[in-house]
């Protein structure tokens, strides 16, 4: 396959939204049969660039050529006709259709009279999923709304692959996947590269970029800053290019020893029908405890049960001064327990997208900001100003709808909304998913500061790096049980991977992964 370095080429592309410049005179090319990583902070223009290629957004000026031919991308349909397929960070599957129907949505197999051949549709979906390697355990007849986020993302990827793309764009498309599925998807992307597909790959996970990309391009503030062969620069250099300054440490230092306090959260034998099979766990004030493991081993259910959202969970639980699991979110946040849950999906569970930044920040704390049901607006303003300042939320103003903020800033608002309630136990579900390095770093620092102020933190992450860099202790779940309890120097990638696969650390085959952490730290 000829490796044409300018298979896909952009020249002088620019895009403004009102007064804000999203892309400034971007010229850029990517080769056939290559995997090209696009790096940059949120708001650097990566997503706008991808949307232009996908035909979802029209560029103000500039040209796009594919295989030497100029393209007119006046809509998603036009881009798809050219074989440009995009997997966006925002999921685009239709929740009420089945897995098979979603995967074959664009061109379902038809019978002669024009009706959809469901049998063939299921077989085709099965074949795509099997080729991807993620098919096992995913029923193609299942309704997508019933699947967890990670599985929906697999369907999203399979749906794109079913269109046989010439140019495949992944915009943070692996951010919700378990490490295992991400590995399989990466393997498949390498296969596509050999078949001559041009893959553009946006990810904030540097180890994925290391493992996958041939070429890296860095964007900053809407400009194309640099393009270089993968591996030719250290992570430090790349991060510097991305943020335009150097960062000393991604993770804040851990305290020498966790404070010897009584556990704020004490769980014994937590069980729930086939998902949780007897979990014991303690979290002390001032401690950050990580929850790791492959996807779907009960981490989600554990956190939801502790927040009182999941009915039918049993076990001996003590939270603060209260015994037993809370009966609902209201009881969880109440004075006895003071729990805050940062949910997985910030757009549907964490935020009121149409409401202002201020209304979002104060909402969960209105009880304490009001007397007899009447809001004390002065106290509210002070609270909002304090939170916005503490979290450095970047917003046009506090009355702007939170939907207009970037992903990282939205996540800060979710955190702020819960910090306003001054929680004693913070439950976080993958809070840094799809967020740029700079914001991630701020969130890590915030979590460490909260812990130092005596908050007990239970933190679920799909990113091993975070578990290693941030947590005082890590519990790795496997099949609804705690497979390993790691603390201090035991928290290594090898140990986490081995326990996630329920292997003994000695038998670990994961040592072959590249040691990338040192470069970032």
């Amino acid at each position: 396959m000829p490796n044409d370095p300018a298979f896909l080429a952009l020249a002088g592309v620019a895009k403004r939204y009102g007064g804000a410049v999203a892309l400034r005179d971007v010229s850029f090319s990517a080769g056939r049969g290559s995997i090209h990583a696009i790096l940059g902070e949120n708001g650097a223009g990566k997503s706008t660039l991808m949307k232009i290629l996908a035909g979802a957004v029209a560029a103000d000026c500039g040209s796009v050529t594919l295989d030497g031919r100029p393209l007119r991308l006046d809509g998603p349909a036009a881009a798809l006709r050219e074989g440009i397929v995009c997997i966006f960070q925002e999921l685009s599957i239709i929740p009420d259709l089945t897995v098979a129907e979603n995967i074959c949505l664009a061109d379902p197999p038809r019978r002669r009279i024009g009706t959809i051949d469901r049998g063939a549709q299921r077989r085709r979906a099965r074949a795509v999923l099997d080729a991807l390697g993620c098919g096992s355990g995913l029923d193609v007849r299942a309704r997508c709304a019933d699947l967890p986020l990670a599985k929906r993302q697999i369907v999203e990827i399979a749906k794109a692959l079913a269109r046989r793309p010439r140019v495949l764009i992944l915009d943070e498309a692996t951010s919700a996947l378990s490490a295992e599925d991400a590995e399989r998807v990466m393997r498949h992307l390498r296969r596509l590269r050999e078949e001559g597909v041009c893959v553009l790959f946006i990810s904030h996970r540097m180890h994925e970029v290391d493992a996958l990309a041939d070429t890296c391009s860095v964007f900053r503030n809407g400009e194309h800053v640099a393009t270089f062969p993968a591996g030719s620069r250290t992570h430090d250099e790349i991060v510097r290019l991305m943020i335009g300054r150097s960062i000393a440490h991604v993770y804040p230092p851990k305290p020498e020893r966790p404070p010897p306090a009584e556990p704020y959260l004490r769980v014994r034998g937590l069980a729930r029908d086939g998902v949780l099979k007897g979990i014991d766990l303690d979290v002390r004030p001032g401690e950050i405890v990580g929850l790791g493991g492959l996807d779907g081993q009960g981490q989600r259910e554990l956190l939801l049960a502790l927040a009182g959202v999941l009915r039918g969970t049993t076990g001996d639980v003590r939270i603060g001064t209260a015994a037993g699991l809370p009966s609902g979110p209201r009881a969880a946040g109440g004075p006895g327990r003071r729990i805050a849950l940062i949910p997985e999906d910030r757009k549907t569970e964490g935020l009121f997208l149409g409401l202002s930044v201020a209304a979002n920040l104060s909402f969960a704390a209105l009880d304490r900001l009001s007397r007899c049901g009447i809001v004390d607006t002065d106290a509210e303003r002070a609270l909002v100003a304090g939170l916005a300042g503490r979290l450095a939320v970047k917003a046009p103003d506090r009355d702007a709808p939170v939907a207009t903020l970037s992903g990282g800033n939205q996540q800060k608002v979710v955190l702020g909304k819960w910090l306003a309630t001054e929680p004693k136990l913070l439950l976080l579900m993958d809070p840094t998913r799809g967020i740029d390095v700079g914001t991630k770093q701020e969130i890590y620092r915030l979590m460490r500061d909260l812990a130092a102020a005596g908050v007990a933190i239970l933190f679920h992450s799909t990113d091993y790096d975070e578990l290693i860099g941030l947590c005082d202790r890590v519990l790795v779940l496997y099949d609804g049980r705690v497979a390993a309890r790691l603390s201090g120097a035991e928290i290594t990638e090898e140990a986490i991977v081995a326990s996630a696969l329920n292997l003994r650390p000695a038998a670990s085959a994961a040592g072959s992964r590249r040691p990338h952490r040192e470069a970032l730290a």
Partner: protein, 326 residues
């Protein structure tokens, strides 16, 4: 003071619903005045305001429910039932202090119907469009059972008659004062109370509100009770104005009530809208109706004009919203 939120440039927005309607009102007044000089007389305009007040009270309830992302289609017969039962009570109990208890009867009828609506939508999770429509029909049946097709022994109490039909020294209709008082209460509710914040939050995303520790079912229930109460108040004012309760007295108010709210810029999907826009919407609808009557436009053209205005305004809002998103 240090700027705590970093300022980013924000594009200047096109005029909002209240501004657009204010403009439309001025244009309508001028056009009407040119066509017929009676239009400018204060007496005429006050009279329009008087009829607008009934619609205004209904629109308060409609807006509260629409803000939660639901709809109350039981307005016509809640209004009629409250008027029918309260005046029937007055008819039975006679004038005087006893008769004034009829006001409580009317409010109880409104709150009761609102409660039934709210239980169906919030606790049984039935679609509000179907459930409230069904409740409307049941109430219709109950009213007809009670009174036959003619309201028997219906007479408003002295307070109803005064509030609905009276004037303060021939300057301001009392109904307008009632509307203004309820409006002030609505603004306070929406802007300053926890309950008001909850209405917006539930309308924007109920699951997020629930996870924030809000009992969202109670919020929905409350919204429908408020709507029932507003319909009841409007019904009793109207009975006082007309000096009787009559079947189908609520029919002309359902769609104009919803139209006023939507014209006022409240999103029919919930979560967005200001009360100022709602008042402007009521004024606009009232003025259009009266102007078309004054100009003796045939009924068919009235309906066309009415629909045309809704298409124009709502079309403008959604274009504007789309432009803001882009």
């Amino acid at each position: 003071m240090i700027p705590l939120v970093r300022a980013l440039p924000r594009p200047v927005a096109a005029p909002g619903p209240a501004g657009v309607i204010a403009l439309a009102l001025v244009v309508l007044l001028l056009a009407g005045g040119l066509a017929d000089p009676r239009f400018f007389s204060p007496a005429y305009l006050l009279q329009q305001l008087h009829t607008g007040a009934f619609l205004g009270v209904i629109a308060i309830g409609a807006m509260v429910v629409i803000l939660t992302g639901h709809i109350d289609l039981s307005v016509p017969w809640t209004l009629s039932a409250a008027a029918t039962f309260s005046t029937a009570f007055v008819g039975a109990a006679g004038e005087g202090a006893q008769g004034e208890l009829g006001l409580l009867v009317g409010l109880a009828v409104g709150a009761g119907i609102g409660l039934v609506n709210g239980i169906g939508v919030a606790y049984l999770r039935l679609p509000s469009m179907i459930w409230t429509l069904a409740v409307n029909m049941v109430v219709l049946g109950v009213c007809v059972l009670h009174a036959g097709l003619y309201a028997s022994g219906s007479r408003p109490s002295a307070v109803m008659a005064t509030l609905g039909g009276g004037w303060i020294g021939s300057l301001v209709p009392n109904a307008v004062v009632v509307w203004m008082v309820l409006s002030a209460a609505a603004v306070f509710l929406l802007r300053r109370t926890v309950a008001g914040r909850c209405l917006y939050a539930v309308g924007t995303r109920e699951s997020a509100a629930w996870l924030s520790g809000i009992d969202t079912r109670r919020v929905l229930l409350g919204a429908f009770v408020i709507s029932g109460l507003c319909s009841a108040v409007a019904g009793m004012l109207l009975a006082g104005y007309a000096n009787q309760a009559y079947q189908r007295m609520g029919d002309p108010y359902l769609l104009p009530g919803i139209a006023a709210v939507v014209l006022g810029g409240t999103s029919i999907l919930g979560g967005r809208g200001s009360y100022g826009g709602c008042v402007a919407g009521v004024l606009l609808i009232t003025l259009i109706t009266s102007m078309l009557s004054l100009l003796q436009v045939p009924e068919a053209f009235k309906q066309i004009a009415y629909g045309g205005v809704i298409i124009l305004m709502v079309g403008y809002y959604s274009r504007r919203a789309a432009a803001e998103r882009a």
